[in-house]
């Protein structure tokens, strides 16, 4: 575990992951689902027919002049239809045609999302995240105001938020990858997952910062770096145990949970690992870089 103090190894690793994630976000882009893009999604189950004629469905949709649609089989006897827009009235006539030409059916799901709603969802998520970050910095700066000089309580807040952004970007990057190769779509539940990961990341970071604060006060004779490394070792058991318990729950959800939350749980799973990692190797180590800079500057002046 000697690697804990090799901060440049971890910075390089994080740097590579972040650059890769940003490049993927930029070039491949997130595979946005209905919630963000707007559009229609219909899931139809055919009750008697096992042999679903996708061609026939395509034909019917063309007859109704549905724009840019896509038909996908799901399971044995269900299909997903995605399209730019299918109104409920249109869908009813389409279903009538399908019943006549293919067989009895059951509409399992119908979603139709307009562009204003979807734009609003993303915008509100961004803004609340930005605002939450500012308040986290302010709160930590306040909660850690007693750290002895020249350590700066503001630095604690900023480092925690940098770790938070780090986690969010890598998680997004990971889902760009999943979207590209496994067709995973980003929905509003994914936003919740990102928020959960961010909440966990900050929580985890603050626990370690709390120990750093305590050691800085208790062992003021030690160097700042030593106090940080000591704190990391002292909280390591707890970090591992806690993330392990969270991962147990998520693993159970992944194995036994419903299909509808699968990717959501994957996001939490990956996020928990990144969040634990970043508290130890990013937030705390950045703190020491920041601190050394302060000392250098004060020596110069």
């Amino acid at each position: 575990m000697i690697l804990i103090n090799k901060k440049w190894i971890w910075f390089s690793l994080s740097g590579i992951l972040i650059i890769a994630s940003i490049l993927m976000l930029f070039f491949w882009k997130l595979n946005l689902g209905l919630d963000f893009k707007g559009g229609s999604l219909v899931e139809i189950e055919f009750i008697k027919t096992k042999d679903i004629k996708i061609n026939e469905i395509n034909k019917i949709l063309n007859e109704f002049k549905i724009e840019s649609f896509q038909v996908q089989k799901s399971g044995d006897n269900s299909v997903f239809i995605k399209a730019k827009s299918i109104s409920k009235d249109q869908l009813e006539s389409i279903e009538k045609q399908m019943e006549e030409r293919i067989g009895d059916l059951n509409e399992k799901k119908y979603e139709n999302v307009g562009p204003t709603v979807s734009k609003d969802l993303a915008q509100k998520a961004y803004w609340s995240l930005a605002l939450a970050s500012i308040f986290i910095i302010l709160y930590i700066a306040y909660a850690f105001r007693k750290v002895p000089k020249p350590a700066n309580s503001f630095a604690f807040g900023v480092c925690a938020v940098i770790a938070l952004v780090h986690d969010a970007i890598i998680l997004l990057g990971f889902f760009v990858f999943l979207g590209k190769y496994y067709g995973v779509e980003i929905d509003s539940l994914f936003i919740t997952a990102v928020l959960t990961v961010i909440g966990y990341s900050v929580h985890d970071t603050i626990v370690i910062f709390d120990r750093i604060r305590e050691n800085l006060i208790k062992y003021s004779e030690n160097s700042f770096d030593k106090n940080i490394i000591d704190s990391l070792y002292q909280t390591l058991d707890r970090s591992i145990t806690t993330s392990f318990t969270v991962i147990i729950v998520l693993a159970a959800l992944l194995v036994f949970g419903g299909e509808s939350i699968k990717w959501f749980v994957v996001a939490l799973f990956v996020g928990t690992i990144i969040g634990t990692y970043s508290s130890i190797f990013v937030a705390s180590q950045l703190l020491s870089v920041w601190h050394n800079k302060i000392i250098k500057n004060s020596n110069v002046s």
């Binding site: 509409e107 999302v113 509100k124 959960t196 929580h203 707890r238």
Partner: protein, 430 residues
Amino acid sequence: MKSLWIKLIFILILLGVAIWIDLPNGFNNVGIKKQPKIIKGLDLVGGVHIAYEADMKDVVVENRDAAMSSLVNVIDKRINSLGVAEPIIQSRKYGDKYGIIVELPGVKDINQAIKMIGKTALLEFKEMTEKGEWQKTNLTGRDLQKADVSSNQQTGEPVVSLKFNNEGAKKFGEITKKNLQKPLAIFLDNEMISAPTVQAEISTGEAIIEGQFSIEDAKNLSIQLNAGALPVPIKIAEQRNVGATLGNDSIQKSLLAGAIGLFLVIIFMIFLYRLPGLIASLALAFYGILIFAIFKISSITPWGITLTLAGLAGFILSVGMAVDANILIFERAKEEYREGKNIFDSYLIGFDRAWSSIRDSNSSSIITGLILFWFGTGSIRGFALVLIIGVIISMFTAITVSRTLLLLITKSRLIKYKFLFALNRKKVNK
């Protein structure tokens, strides 16, 4: 010591009340009409979610908020007349746009519902300009007091009779005065229904719509007008029908998975920390019982909490934090014991030292939760609400249940069996 016993009694009473609420038939016969129960969101029970966009171009900016609240009222009345149980009707504003969200859980035949909601029944009176075009007057369905079905005295055809309120009567008087011997058209949902010629100034505030209605049509129209015309036209911006089976399947599986996960956590905690691990598990069970009770009891207050998949995510996160509080205390106690303190002091001090990290980390979660709740929409709000409640309750269980039980046990005779505590004085290698 005495205060610990008092706390234990308090905990047991609270536990008893929570269990009583949680029981299927709990919290009945207390003189409250409403039955408490967990309110499940659409993604869990199925139903329909519709987001409407309100067209505000004809409403001046100052009146828009008022128009929205009356829009919510009207839609609420219409849905209630359909007998849908527990509908959710919320207005919301995004940018300069206004919208309404309607959620009807468990509704099977939704088309009827959607048709009823969407009927704007926008009643307008238009006068003719000199160029021969119809021009809006300031008299609309908003000025209506009552609409009724009656019949034309000469032809016997069904008509809809209107009675305006005071202001409407005044407006109607002015309009009829101004348009004597000219046509005055009645428009419903931008469609002209009739355009009689004004024969005399009418100041009684009564009018009749003739439109070759069937009795059925006239009745429906009067119901719509009475339920209140929508003050602004709306259109569907988003619609989601969630099949009940899909919802049911996912909740059943996810609940089972959650239970398995929690069970594994309990085994892991007991394996790792032994007796304190068992106490943490009890605290966790207490936490679950309390949260469930709060969710259930909230349903009889105006602030009912709706449980959704996003809410379950918030719950998982808060469970993680609740377990973490215990782990923090135990790990700290381990350290204190290593430094030579006795078991009781190790836990007492371990708790005090761990408290600042529990407090600070959870406070930041609450702050994040509050901001998300304030600014977020739909599922994000559900997530935030559960997170806030979960974190507050988890801090409470850490302070009360974990601490009280731990200190009582370390004061008891069980302390003789050191292996129960998984503590040792070996220095760890760094």
